[in-house]
Amino acid sequence: MPEALYQQTATELQQGLQEGAFKSVDIVRSLLERIDAVDGDIGAYLHIDKADALAQAEAADARRAGGKALSDWDGVPISLKDAIAVKGQPLTCASRMLENFVSPYDSTVASKLKDAGCVLLGRLNMDEFAMGSSTENSAVKPTLNPWNKECIPGGSSGGSAASVAALECPWSLGSDTGGSIRQPASHCGVVGIKPTYGRVSRWGLAAFASSLDQIGPLARSVEDAAALLELISGKDNRDSTSVPEPVPAFRKALGQPVKGLKVGLPKQYFDNSEGLDPEVREAVMAAARHFESEGCELVEVDLPHADLAVPVYYIVATAEASSNLGRYDGVRYGYRSANASDAIDLYYKSRGEGFGEEVKRRIMLGTYVLSSGYYDAYYLKAQKARSLIRSDFAKAFEQVDVLLAPTAPTPAFRRGENTEDPLAMYLADIFTIPANLAGIPGISLPCGFSKSGLPIGFQLLGKSFDEASLLRFASNFEAAHSFARQSPEL
């Protein structure tokens, strides 16, 4: 048992609360002290209301003392990516556009966490409007990788991953549109799950690309990630794209044997020359060999349209984003330019001044691909290619139970390395994007360190709504390798 409360996993905290070993306010104080100590460097948090966090914890303690705990998790703190609405808390998407915006309503995931009694501790940094792979696109500040402050933490949920890795919260929520949970989880050495599209309600998640976005957990153990997924999953009448699929007790999948199951290795993910780092390749192959030693059969599988994923993604995601971000115009809320001469100018200037470079780049791309005369050549064709990618996966899952692949082609790159080269940055998501296009679930978990001491992650991809299989494999791997419980020296 670790000595300080901030070092404990959510499951450990929950047990301690139930045993009366400590109180929620003790946890929150411990975390606030930790954040004070390390976040000046890391920059994972955008906003914390300490008094409010302590008040939430006191309320949780009072409930528990009165025998009226809302759930096992009553009093356990969590922090959310700053794209997920919590009533009365800032919702900035790390953008100047929303720098003073406070959400007047709760996202469905926030409601569910409140119903369970969780303390909603603070708001986590991200790439502006979730557009980026390094959290360098935050309009507020960059987040640094806790393992090496010269490196990026990944993105766009960089704050969500770094805060968990740096022991600034036991677990967190991020969102994954093209890898934005899995890639930073991989770079920060934590566990991250992108659930099946439709598994978790998007109500209250500021949209980037509606057909790809999915909220998911980041944690320091597979068990925590499974528990958090249970807390947030389920059909929601406020989100038409959420699916009425029963939510299994995901933690029951933990520890289930994997012997005799088939693990697919997509050859395109290992063979290609897209700059798969040899150290990453070696660590991921070692993970594959682990499953072989556990009695799994390794099967090479073909995903013939894998090379289409990045171009398809940057058409579909930008098209949807160009429309989704139309609402940020300075008319009703958010940043409004003081220099506008008339109504049209107000749109131009508010959006021109309020959005950062990457957001504007993607809005322009998306506007272009939807334009009259280009729609068929880009958007329509991309949708067709998307269904080819989807059917590639469907065929693969006829042969195997899960797919195993690197999460990112390299360990965390150095800050500023790709900021001048958007295409290089886009390729950071080459292995994560296909799961979003296909809507299937994925989990990233750590499988080693590079020689320079940076975490390396691998991902498991599964059939739609079969997160349980992913958790089964992940817990099997974690039992033999506790990389996620290692913490950086800070």
Binding site: I84, W203, A207, S240, T241, R327, D329, A343, Y347
Partner: protein, 486 residues
């Protein structure tokens, strides 16, 4: 050269639903500004649309009334444009897979006189698609204000083929649409409240030709007379352009009711690129055939079908059907009364078309007393008709009973008793009075016996006078016939 007009209408109809098209916020007219809103209507970050099933059903019913095809699937698209009337800066609409395809609506053109039925024809429809209404902007000298109460109201856009040939036909179409939609409870179609709005596409061509010439689109036609006047004004304008050898430019023109003119708003080159694409927040809508059929089964009878049925089944004249059938509240009153006493439809209809309408007009300063405020219930009127038929009260006294019933909502029988209007049935008395009358007019008696049936009317006045109005005309007639043939 003789020209003919080619007109197509785009009619926007606000559907009657509890809540808005894509959220649970209330919808309605007249609330204080920006109160019927929520995160969806205000376009807050993270808000998502959820489809209103009631609006889907209302739209399907429109399609069924118009014999449209109801495809098994329809879907939602985003129409992107920047304007403060839409908080999201896109409107959710249906671009290429609308809820209703094709169809036609029967209309009645104005007849040669009020008492004579006009020509009936069917106007072909292209489609009807469902969308969300936008907010309302009010412009001032320096500022503009926006009210999002209207934003998100379910709005069905009904598009006709260029199948209309005159302003009268356009008006007839709108009137028919309004009659059918109000009768089915789909919309109140009040143009003053913006519940029905109309754009008109107008072009001219040589009469008899089938070419489609360049058209202009007229917007802002907010009343029936606005539609009529704008179309006529635009036909005249295009005619003058052609007469001078000019060409018509494809453009959008705004109707200005004050000047009675249309003015150019924007040309084709200024047309927006709306960047339509399927809305990823909403699933395509599947309409099971059983659902469509159950909606069809619940539809009220179509107005002109009902009119033909009343003509054939009840032998109603046009003057009666045009009052009863063209006003769903009256036809519902009639049908309800018929259900309680169905032996004398014509008497019932006449009470409704004449007495009821007269009394409603007299109790309201301006227009008619709303039917919901009429105290007399259909079954009570049916009772009155029955009592007349059974000879309990004389027909000519029934009017007084009617007025009392209308004013108080009481049943007819106690009123008849109180007022002493009951036919006392004393035939001895009646026989004596009739004999006196015959004796007093030997000439008429002679004429009747000679085969002139109308001569019997000459006795009526004196008999009524002698009975102080209590005699039942029908009984008097029977008595006279009996006495005269003795």
């Amino acid at each position: 050269m003789e020209y003919e007009a080619v007109i197509g209408l785009e009619v926007h109809v606000q559907l009657k639903t509890e809540s808005k098209m894509f959220t649970t916020a209330r919808q309605g007219f007249g609330a204080s500004p920006n109160t019927y809103t929520d995160p969806v209507i205000m376009g807050l970050p993270g808000a998502l649309p959820v489809m209103n099933l009631q609006a889907i059903e209302q739209s399907v019913r429109v399609g069924l009334i118009c014999d449209s095809e109801i495809p098994e699937f329809c879907k939602w698209d985003r129409k992107n444009y920047f304007y403060p009337d839409s908080a999201k800066n896109y409107q959710i609409t249906q671009y290429d897979q609308p809820i209703c395809v094709g169809g036609e609506l029967e209309v009645e053109l104005t007849g040669p006189s009020r008492n004579v039925m006009g020509e009936h024809r069917k106007v072909k429809l292209t489609r009807a698609h469902l969308e969300e209404d936008v907010g309302k902007l009010t412009h001032f000298e320096r500022d503009s204000l926006v009210d999002y109460n209207r934003a998100g109201t379910p709005l069905l856009e009904i598009v006709t083929e260029p199948d209309i040939r005159s302003s009268e036909e356009a008006v007839a179409f709108l009137q028919s649409l309004r009659m059918h939609l109000t009768a089915a409870g789909i919309s109140d179609c009040d143009m003053e409240k913006g519940q029905m709005r109309c754009d008109a596409n107008v072009s001219l061509r040589p009469k008899g030709s089938d070419v489609l010439n360049t058209r202009t689109e007229m917007k802002n036609l907010n009343s029936i007379s606005g539609v009529k006047n704008a179309i006529e004004s635009e036909i005249r304008r295009q005619y003058r352009v052609y007469q001078k050898g000019g060409t018509i430019v494809q453009e959008t023109r705004r109707w200005d009711a004050d000047s009675g003119m249309t003015q150019s708003m924007r040309g084709k080159e200024d047309a927006h690129d709306y960047r339509y694409f399927p809305d990823p927040d909403l699933m395509p809508v599947r309409l099971p055939r059983e659902k469509v059929e159950s909606l069809r089964a619940e539809l009220p009878e179509r107005v002109f079908d009902q009119q033909r049925r009343y003509q054939e089944q009840y032998d109603f004249p046009y003057t009666l059907t045009s009052v009863i059938c063209f006003d769903f509240e009256l036809s519902r009153f009639f049908e309800t009364a018929m259900a309680s006493y169905g032996k004398n439809p014509k008497a019932l209809a006449n009470y409704i078309a004449n007495d009821l309408q007269r009394e409603r007009a007299q109790s309201e300063q301006d227009g008619l007393l709303p039917i919901i405020d009429v105290k007399m219930q259909p079954a009570q009127l049916a009772d009155l008709v029955r009592l007349v038929d059974e000879g309990v009260v004389a027909k000519h006294n029934a009017r007084e009973v009617f007025i009392e019933m209308f004013n108080t909502g009481r049943d007819p029988e106690p009123i008849i008793k109180e007022k002493g209007l009951a036919d006392d049935g004393d035939d001895g008395d009646l026989e004596a009075i009739c004999k006196d009358a015959i004796a007093g007019n030997a000439k008429a008696a002679e004429e009747f016996r000679g085969g002139q049936a109308k001569a019997i009317n000459s006795f009526m006045g004196p008999i009524m006078k002698a009975s102080k109005g209590k005699a039942n005309p029908q009984k008097v007639r029977e008595m006279l016939e009996k006495l005269l043939s003795e």
